[in-house]
């Protein structure tokens, strides 16, 4: 590696990965205990271990300093062939530090929650083993200093997602959902492959630090066309993992998995890895305004599409799933308007409030005996006070209620969008308003009014194993926003400093983009407009659904489109999957069966060289065979000897 990089070497980083990995091995292969307590405690301790080491690392190396040097854990050489040089090294940057804390911290809380949620399982060790394995794969993704290592984590979390979505494998639809997730992600991963090939060929390195040091900025030796292809391909990969149009379709189906999985993988961590990688490689992205435009409009389209679908969903987890897709769209908009800080800020706040909302939904589902239909709920606020209070906090955070976490991050994205242009801002505000509507709808339908079913009237509050993580996350959803606040309000910029310290000296300024600073008055007005719009729509939604009685879905053209998810799955099925399947079947039958084998059989029959021909030899007596063999070998050897000598 390059000698020019100075810095510390540490073996601490690998333990962040090893703790959950050991937990997975212990639970999955060694202990295999059917006791929920044993497997749950092992897994929770493993994730707590990773959290503690992460804390240690972060406190040792800090988050804010500009020049923290090159902190690596030079673990082992994976492979090194020709131009493909892949050391399996881990690297600490402030950005990774933050992500580590989010992943392991929220991960540990969700493990605790799962110990309450999975109480009816016969053999939960498999669940906890997968969950730990997921954590370690995610940490590989976060920590790896090499893009191939990142890809290992990237595919590894995909595998765990597949296994966990299909965790209740006895039902075919769960396995089908897992498979859909894996295959859709692989469509995206083809882009990751292409990016790796191009970088290996043209940049001659796959180490992130070298890529950013040598190839970011105006002086890059890479041609703009190459960078465009690499980043376009990486963005394509991100649309898979981070569920953007056109590859978002797997995420709603992924709700087939247990709810803690939805909270951890399909809300807080894995689905944000596309954004995380983009922020990590930001100085490269900053050189390609075209790719940023793609991100902006794909993200905007996804934010709207998913929000429109979320308006009418009846399944509480489906509402949250589409909301996740929509919020991920917000993050891509933030990247698109040139603000990786805002994007990563929303990654962090979203991790808290969406994990909170999912776990709250899990608690509700648990209390409702696994009924997930919002129209069957109602009146739960009295039966489940803790769940209600924390879910309310999550809802307020996601709609951007002033001074909650979501308020700060969403406000930052909107402000940056406004700087970019009024159109982007206006559209994004629309999506934010839709969020307020559907979230208040879900919250009100579940917790207000009168119980609309037997399950709802007999619902019960969940155990402390589930409510304590809820409260911890609620605290985060309230307070985590204060790590980055507007100039007009406290003026804290801890996150910005941390993110910018992670680009090895590159400023991350978008080429040709001159950030005009908003005046204080404009900032106040934007904040006011956003809050007033969101909150009034939220109140309207609350009033509308407060005394909801009917269990019938709404009708009408738009409602039908929304309920049926704009028929996107059906369109893919008809336009892509069926034709491909047809071509596959056809190509096999025509080519192999008719063309190749048909010709062969024709030749054989013409020559009279049929299966009968050699069957005289087929006596079934092995000693005869042995004799044939020996005799034939001897004779042929003798003949050739005699001929050639």
């Amino acid at each position: 590696m390059d000698e020019a990089f100075t810095g510390a070497s540490t073996t601490l980083l690998r333990w962040i990965i090893l703790f959950p990995l050991l937990g997975a091995i212990l639970n999955g292969l060694v202990i295999r205990s059917k006791s929920l307590k044993v497997s749950g405690i092992v897994a929770t301790m493993a994730s707590l271990g990773a959290f503690v080491v992460s804390l240690l690392v972060v406190s040792r190396y800090g988050l804010l300093s500009e020049d923290i040097g090159y902190i690596t854990d030079q673990w082992f050489v994976w492979f090194n062939v020709g131009r493909i040089n892949v050391p399996f090294w881990l690297e600490y940057t402030p950005l990774t530090g933050l992500m580590l804390l989010v992943v392991t911290g929220i991960g540990a809380l969700i493990h605790v929650f799962a110990m309450g949620y999975m109480e009816e399982e016969e053999a939960p060790f498999r669940f906890f083993s997968y969950l730990n394995l997921f954590l370690s794969a995610m940490l590989v993704l976060v920590l790896s200093s090499n893009l191939v290592g990142v890809f290992m984590g990237w595919e590894g979390v995909g595998l765990c997602s597949y296994l966990l979505i299909g965790y209740w494998y006895k039902k075919d639809e769960n396995t089908a959902a897992g498979m859909k997730a894996f295959v859709t992600n692989r469509i995206g991963d083809l882009g990751f492959f292409v990016a790796l090939f191009m970088l290996a060929l043209y940049a001659n390195t796959l180490q992130i630090r070298e890529l950013l040091t040598f190839f970011a900025g105006e002086s890059s030796q890479l041609s703009p066309g190459v960078v465009l292809c690499v980043l376009g391909a990486l963005f394509w990969a991100s649309t898979g993992k981070s569920a953007q149009f056109p590859l978002y379709v797997w995420l709603p189906d992924a709700m087939a998995g247990p709810t803690p999985v939805s909270a951890l993988i399909h809300a807080a961590t894995m689905v944000t890895s596309g954004i995380f990688v983009s922020v990590r490689l930001w100085p490269l992205f900053a050189t390609q305004p075209l790719v940023l435009d793609w991100m902006l409009w794909v993200g905007m389209g996804t934010a709207w599409l998913a929000a429109l679908i979320a308006l009418t969903q009846r399944d509480i987890k489906k509402v949250l799933a589409y909301s996740t897709v929509s919020q991920l769209g917000f993050m891509f908009v933030a990247l698109g308007v040139g603000s990786p800080v805002a994007a990563f800020f929303h990654v962090i706040t979203h991790a808290f409030f969406k994990a909170l909302l999912f776990l709250g939904a899990g608690s509700v589902i648990h209390g409702m005996h696994h009924d997930q239909d919002l129209f069957e709920m109602g009146g739960l606020r009295k039966k489940m006070p803790f769940t209600h209070a924390t879910f309310l906090i999550g809802t307020l955070a996601i709609i951007g209620f002033p001074l909650t976490a979501g308020f700060f991050s969403k406000d930052m994205i909107l402000a940056k969008a406004f700087e970019h242009g009024p159109l982007a801002w206006g559209l994004l505000l629309g999506a934010a308003v839709l969020t307020a509507f559907y979230m208040l709808r879900a919250y009100t339908l579940a917790f207000w009014g009168e119980p609309r079913s037997k399950h709802a009237s007999h619902a019960h509050e969940s155990s402390w194993l589930m409510t304590v993580p809820l409260m911890a996350l609620a605290l985060g959803a309230l307070l985590i926003g204060f790590i980055e606040t507007p100039v007009v309000l406290l003026d804290i910029h801890a996150l910005e400093a941390a993110v910018k310290a992670s680009w090895y000296g590159s400023s991350g300024e978008v080429i040709g983009h001159h950030a005009g600073h908003l005046s204080h008055a404009t900032e106040w007005i934007l904040m006011l407009v956003t809050s007033v719009c969101s909150l009034s729509v939220a109140y309207f939604s609350y009033k509308k659904f407060r005394d909801h009685k009917t269990k019938e879905s709404a009708t009408g053209l738009l409602a039908d489109l929304s309920q049926n998810k704009f028929y996107v799955d059906e369109i893919y099925e008809t336009l892509l999957l069926k034709p491909l399947s047809f071509v596959a079947a056809w190509s096999w039958k025509i080519i192999d069966t008719y063309l190749i084998n048909g010709t062969l059989h024709f030749v054989r029959n013409t020559l009279g060289f049929s299966g009968q021909f050699l069957s005289f030899a087929h006596t079934g007596n092995v000693q005869t065979y042995a004799w044939y063999m020996a005799a034939a070998s001897a004779v042929s050897l003798l003949i050739s000897w005699w001929v050639l000598k």
Binding site: F76, V77, W78, F79, V81, G82, R83, I84, R126, V148, F151, M152, E155, G156, L159, Y162, G166, Y169, K170, D172, T175, M179, V183, R186, D189, L190, F193, V194, L196, F197, A200, L201, S581, V583, A584, A585, S587, W588, I591, D592, L595, I596, L600, F609, G611, L614, S615, H618, G620, V622, Q623, Y625, A626, M629, A632, S633, S640, W641, L644, K645
Partner: protein, 490 residues
Amino acid sequence: MTTLMLMLWPLLSGLFLFCLIKVPTRTVQWVNIALHLVWGVFMWQSWAGFAPDQLGTVSWSWEWFPSLGSSLALGVDGLNLPLIVLNFILSLLLAFYSLGKEKLGASYLALFSILNAGSVGSLLALDALAFYVFWEFMLIPMYFLIGKWGSKNRVYAALKFFAFTMAGSLLMLLAIIALGTEYNTLSWNALRDAQIPYNGLGGFQGLVFLGFLVAFAVKIPVWPLHTWLPDAHTEAPTGASVILAGVLLKLGVYGIARWCLALFPMASQDVAIPMMVLGAIGVVVGSFAAWKQTDIKRMIAYSSVAHLAFMVLGLFAFQEEALQGAMFQNLAHGLSTGALFLIFGIIYDRTHTREISQYGGLASRNGLLASAFVFSAMASIGLPGLPGFVGEFLILSGTFFSNKTIALVSLSGVLLGSIYMLSMLRKVVFGPVGPTLEAHEIRLQWNEWVAIVPLLVLMLVLGLQPQFIFEKSKFAVEWILALMTSGWGV
């Protein structure tokens, strides 16, 4: 001497086992394991004594046809050693697998050992005639293994296997005779040093090269010469399927590297693009076919067609990454597909059906075996951390360096692989318990676990620490590639 024993020991073991036909099966099976362990000592000696900067060093030789300039010359180098060891490992594990199976008695084990002698012999041979003898020699035991121990359609499959390979080999024989008469030597080193002049594919080098190439292309098999493989795999008994996928197909890849690229570099370059196109077609069409199979073994067989097509790309991209990747993928595919055939074979022993639709719910019936099956499937579709990824990634990047279009077309195999493999897992491993598994208990004997577990461990080792393999083959690969860039100048 050790080198000779690598080949001779299984031959002697085979002849010895033939004499034990009256001895109780279980005793013979233990004897077979013991014989394997002795073979393992020779393996260990070769592995430990390996010098990395060797290519074509003859360590044992006997001049058997002086008039042709041919001798039985054997040697270990970076190209063949990993495959020889893989052959040994698979065979040893199969020896454990066969324990307690009444049908797999002395004659079966003897044929198996003789097959090993043939495959190791052709790997070791550094003389064209010796290579040819071993190459053909493998057909005989394989023919009987499929024809006698196979399932319903075995006679058709055995004959098809025999006819295809024979047809290919005849051309190779012609090429060898031509070489012998022209150069008066058949030694690999001498032919290499002779620097056979090249004047087009229709010239001497070109024609001889094509003779070799066709034989290897049938064996690999390269599309469209592949249709013998699904039949052979499907009908073959488990052990034969494992060795077929794990070793015999790999001989085609190895053969191209040793006998085509190294001896006929210019001709190889002239067919590079057509061969890579066939490789890309093989990846796509093979994956399509695998997706549409209703028979598990046939599906795995087609997946082999697709994976071996990747290796064809790797051979003809003429990039260090790609060629190393192809040699490595030989091992990776041998382990993962070997494991898939072995695990399914163990299930088949109990259920006697290969129809995917009859399965479902393996995870409910035997969780550990299901995990092993999923693990092997993941290795097969190239999940990072398992060896298939390293091989495919290197092959595809090398191919990308030399031809972007072909690489991008072949990249679709990564996606299609996940489609056919996961469809199969969905229908076999997950879901409600199907009729077959409802009717049969799947409980493994200890020796079956002994056969499976080392494969899984090896996959992890090669997936995470592949470098020691690359160090072994580095010298040979670099030498071959130097030939490609500078022709006979080296």
